[in-house]
Amino acid sequence: MILQVLRRTVQASVLLVMVSIAFMSLYAHYRSARVIDDDQLMAGMRGEVVTKLIYPYIDALDNPTAFLDGNKGTLWSMKLFGVDLTDPLAAAEMLATSKHIHWPLLISIVIPVVVTLILGRVFCSWICPGYVLFEIASKLRKLLRFAEIQPANVSFSHRNKYIFLFVGLVVAAVCSAPLFALIYPPAVISRIVHAWVFGTALSGMLVLVSVLVAIEVFISPRWWCRTICPGGALYGLLGWLRPIRVKLSKSKCTGCMDCLPVCEAGINPITQSSSIECDNCGVCIRYCGDKALYFTIGLPGQESSSQKIATRATSKAAMFVMLIVPLLGPSTVEGHHILGLPHYSYKENYPQRPTLEYPATTGPYDVLLTSYPGIPVPGEAANIAIYIKNRETRKVYSEPITIRVLQTSTFGDNIIILPSTTRTPFDNEYKIHVTLPIDSEYIVEVSMPVEGRVEVIPFLIVAGQPTALASMVIVGSFSVIIVFVVIRAIHKKRQRKRRMVAGVDHGHEAYEAGSVMNLGEKVL
């Protein structure tokens, strides 16, 4: 029980570290560049977090700059309290892609590798945020089963992940570009967290994670961790001969099989507790009613000697080691604090706000539309400049062109904001000043004669922050589905209760049968 509380605490603190490192980086930028003041990003919740939660604690330290410098990165490769930590998979893949040994990288994987050699695949069960996500997904599966909706239960061989690790490294070596870095859930999730804090878009990564969760919920439980994850495979191989492992006391085990359905790795703790698949999460120990499963120190195949030391004390010692090893990372933050001049800010010297460019080509011409400000503020005049240059002769186009501005509309026709007007260039560019009324997408249509015919070039520009219809539809439908599942679950529960009261136990039997079926399928 205490072990599971510890595990959840470690998982939660890893999530916290991921989020706070990103926020601390935002704050570090603020300290050195003073970019918060005029930043749209800082206007809302992020500014609140940085000024209320990050600033008071960091600035109370002796050396805030050194502390901020000592905490960087994502779970893929991270600097934590000044210590370099890198995922061994990252190092393996980097070796494959670059065919070049970089010693600092190899040194930074020492701590994870040593921890894995001693404790086994604990990265998966104790640290990985993807594991947390997929645990939540399996809870959703449970909810589905409780509502008597049977999700598909396809299982694959656990050996696939070693094949995938090998194939992925070969692919990476052949095309000299990393593959795992873009699909490995801990890296992807911490990148999504980072992107969310920094206000940048990583929609492709979000789609990947949603697809994985959907597969876990509806098709194959714990599909990724058990059968695909290359990182899990690597950690499994590293932790094959782990001295700290789950053991079964055969004299105590009554064969109740309670540990079978709860196993996160999808193995049978009774027969396979020393297997390469076990990730030392300790859930089976918690659910073992006979106290037959316990952590022990020893190599596989040492049944008799480990039986001897298999006392509660050993189990506790193992737990202690599992807790203490991650905390042993020494904090070697060094440096000295110099109160220097503030970073000179462009905001003071050159009052520019960023512009946004939309390049296009037509015939021999490069057409460049620039909007100022970059993302026009709805209700305020936006300046739009169009610069047309002949790519071949390097001469600026100076004939009159026609410009029209439309507001896009999801249903019905586009609304005309600026009717067709003919413009002549001023200072080599065509300028329009137009007020975009609301947060939406707009089309600036530029018509110009090219090689005897009139070309119309539409530029799609965005004003404000329009809500995307697609994301609203997706979020809406997901919440509707979840509400329906919950309603169905409550309904079924009541039904079962009524039948129990009436003395007919069919509903309950059906539910039990469902879970038994699932249990059977987990054993490969």
Binding site: A22, S25, A28, H29, S32, A33, V35, D69, K72, G73, T74, W76, S77, M78, K79, D84, A90, M94, T97, H102, P104, L105, S108, F156, S157, N160, I163, F164, V167, G168, V171, V174, C175, S176, A177, P178, L179, A181, L182, A187, R191, H194, T200, L202, G204, G340, P342, H343, Y346, N349, Y350, P354, T355, E357, L368, T370, Y372, N383, Y387, N428
Partner: protein, 204 residues
Amino acid sequence: MEKVDRRQFVKQSTAIGVTLGSGAYVSGLLGSASTAQASPLRPPGALSEEDFLSTCIRCMRCVDACPNRALISTPSHAGGAQACTPMMQPRKAACMLCLSEEGDYLKCTEVCPSGALRLIKKTKADIKERVSIGVAEIDFDLCYSYNNWSCGACFRACPLAGEAMTVGMWERPTIHPEACVGCGCCERSCIRYPHAIRVKAVAS
């Protein structure tokens, strides 16, 4: 050796086939993307584009470390090989070469774990010799100083003014490519839009 039944065999071979197929597909994607896309501006000290793409592990440490938030992570729709690598958009934020920061090294090169960014000392000689983000180019049709006005904003922003950029009459700028490191301060400071001076990545 236990006997494998047909159902199991079909399932396993499908799984392996899908894995291999997707691997091949992604590799094709990566291969095409790495050759087709123009190279974006990389952080100081970056290896040549090809080596950089194969060495960078996409950990975003340099993005975290950049004090001016000049480095951003390339969006995932930019193409498989370039996704999540660090890049610069000088018009949004330029590389300040960490000149007013503490420490002896450029911060992004200091935190890079994989060696994709070589460690660069914060001395003028080392910066001039080893930083080559790109080279600034002037569009003489747009530059105010070459079109009946006088401006000089880029010259005032240049950290290597007098070496990488000199100005003549009406503060007309001239770039000296051999000294220009491509930090992008001139592009950031240009008061014209579209900007008359922009950093182009050096073809490697």
